[in-house]
Symmetry: C2
Subunit: 417 residues, 2 copies
């Protein structure tokens, strides 16, 4: 694939995006229906392609967790199909008038949701992202260019061919769904220069991948590097509730970005709260690293270093700090955190209001686990990624975040004086 | 100013932005009040600083239009003060809950507007932008770093010192308003690398300036390069209305980005509409460049070349094309236009609906002049710039476009299963 091929793919995508943007919900939903049927009918074809990828990955000695994510089973295939149905059932955001008002001169001004145009989706080994991301982009009227992990190339090629076929069957341009069919990094970097044709890049995967994409892209990138999430247990927290939330935030699924990494505890409750809580954690196999005040209460632990406050463990490790006040908790979160997700456990209304306003994170919770920071859990219906920068989208991104809003203005001959 | 100075200014800005973001409307409005009073009370100081810039510009032989834009008169100073009062009167967007819903598990989820953080504003000779942009940023809780044209450096230095003083007087950090006090391009480029500290860049000025900023920036840039705006006169247009709109769109202020550059006319109305219209234009001194079909009706004009359709004249020049259909008009606009502002004159409801949906521009109008594409005219209250790319903002940007939305979640102990 050379520079001209890249440009040509991006141009086809742009053109297909315009057609898809003007297509109504009925056609797009028909395409999603054909997609799910195609995946079901051609499951053997997909499994065979996947078997080639899995065999190659085993030969290269990848770890079993990696092989697991790469492997398409009957169950993962069913979940891909279910996801497409869920996206089909969501409300089409395109064409929605989100606001409208009348000007003194009689002009009727509205803001109408439109697709962004072309989305470049970059991800790692899991082939189900191919189907999920395609469904979300098609439903929101966006063309998508997919770049999956090179280890899944045969699986992705098979899935994309079925999905593009479904678009055709629904009378929509199959070029709305294209696939970068080479592991060559230089080709990807060439795509990242097409800022006249591609509107948005969403990288999903490890921090290294995301940094490389951001470094090379001339197109806006929506991303989060990491999730250093906090729970702050306030002085008057309900202790059983705080235990439940802190346990869930750390232990329920430690390897994901919305798991808690640092627990902050108000000094007035620390003596009462920490011993039991840490005991619960230890029984669940969580390693605790504490600040000096934490270790004054429970000396038997590794001290937390400055570096710990900046670390996303993604593992059963937790750093714990005793703070003097709500102010100190907020300062800690805004300084060491990653603007991702933070929670306070409190009975104090004023503290919860201040936490909402002053914590500079994309999802701020009161009396709930950080694990709810997720497109499905928050009620967006689906999630195409999470953004921890504030431009365009902040936090979990659903269908609406794949749209822009234009001004539509209805008049009866108005001119400007 | 070296690299460390740049970083230090950006860090102070970031910190001030956090404080400003947490400040309430009362304090911000007090600061705006002090700003307007400061400008009034210290008008002699401003005029003297401005006289130095004007004298230098005259000495360097700048054109009179440039000198006009640079000069601060009693009238321009009054309009700066008025603008600040208008911004003060606008609704504070920060803290607004734009949507809220309840999840089946009882979680109350809302989206709350928050400031972006730090805005870097880059502009050319007009010193009034210094006051306008500062007021908009402060009201929306953003710190701002200003980089005005080097020819206005003394004027801007004087204005910024007064405005920063007003922040202090209101109990807000004066560092929320900083000024790049050197014409050195390398310093600006160093600022454009501070993507960890600065959230948004808005360049306003000529295409060359904007391209240079976009080229060097690692921070998201909201911009429009040019405005190639169209009016399409449909087959069944009301002719007097079409004349009024087309005249206004081209002639009322030809040097601005929302003026019409190309008029498209449906073939079925061309013979009836064009002769009078072109006569009206010519009497107003407008040069017409026509397609072949236009010249078949009125041979006495320069032919429009392919290049004309891509050109923003910003002058009393108009290219005219006769098209066969609505489809061809939409195709022309999406191909040659700049996604800025386009209007249709029609009595046909279906055509107006298709025009709204299919024209890929930030402001799409039916039966109104393109000149309404402006933050004030559309009712945003003010305008900090216009964006013709779809990420974050599309079209005129007001206070709301200087905010992001975070998720705020209220629970009573929910954890994830």
């Amino acid at each position: 694939m050379n520079k001209d091929d890249v440009k040509s793919i991006a141009q086809k995508s742009k053109h297909a995006g315009l057609l898809l943007g003007a297509a109504g919900t009925v056609k797009k939903d028909a395409a999603l229906q054909f997609m799910s049927e195609g995946l079901r009918e051609r499951s053997t074809f997909i499994m065979e392609a996947n078997a080639v990828d899995v065999a190659a990955a085993k030969k290269q000695g990848f770890q079993s967790a990696f092989i697991d994510r790469l492997t398409i089973t009957e169950k993962t295939l069913k979940s891909m199909i279910d996801s497409i149905h869920e996206v089909k059932a969501l409300k089409d955001p395109v064409g929605e008038i989100t606001k409208a008002w009348t000007r003194p001169n009689g002009l009727l001004v509205g803001r109408m949701r439109i697709p962004l145009g072309v989305v470049l989706m970059i991800y790692e080994s899991r082939p189900n992202v191919t189907a999920d991301a395609s469904a979300l982009c098609i439903k929101s009227g966006n063309a998508v260019i997919l770049k999956g992990g090179s280890e899944a190339i045969n699986s992705n090629r098979a899935i994309v061919s079925i999905l593009a076929e479904a678009l055709k069957k629904a009378g929509l341009p199959p070029e709305a769904l294209q696939f970068i069919d080479t592991p060559d990094k230089e080709v990807l970097y060439e795509f990242l220069k097409q800022d006249e044709l591609i509107d948005l890049v969403i990288p999903r995967g490890g921090e290294e991948l995301i940094r490389a994409v951001a470094e090379h892209s001339r197109i806006p990138v929506l991303k989060h590097y990491k999730g250093i999430c906090h729970v702050f247990v306030d002085a008057d927290a309900d202790i059983p509730m705080a235990q439940r939330i802190c346990f869930n935030a750390k232990v329920q699924r430690p390897g994901v970005c919305n798991a808690m990494e640092t627990m902050l505890v108000h000094k007035d409750i620390a003596g009462q709260f920490l011993p039991d809580m840490i005991d619960i954690y230890r029984k669940a196999g969580v390693e605790i690293r504490g600040c000096e005040k934490t270790r004054a209460i429970l000396p038997d632990m590794r001290p937390a270093t400055e570096q710990d406050w900046f670390t996303e463990y993604l593992d059963l490790i937790l750093s714990v700090r005793v703070v003097d006040s709500l102010d100190q908790a907020i300062e800690h979160i805004n300084h060491y955190g990653s603007h991702h997700t933070d929670s306070i456990v409190t009975k104090n209304v004023e503290h919860s209001m201040r936490f909402f306003r002053e914590v500079d994170s994309s999802t701020v919770l009161v009396n709930a686990s950080t694990r709810f920071s997720d497109g499905f859990q928050l009620g967006l219906g689906a999630e195409i990624g999470i953004s921890t920068s504030k431009l365009h989208a902040f936090g979990p991104m659903g269908l609406e975040e794949l749209t822009a809003q234009k001004f539509v203005v209805m008049g009866n001959g108005q001119v400007r004086e």
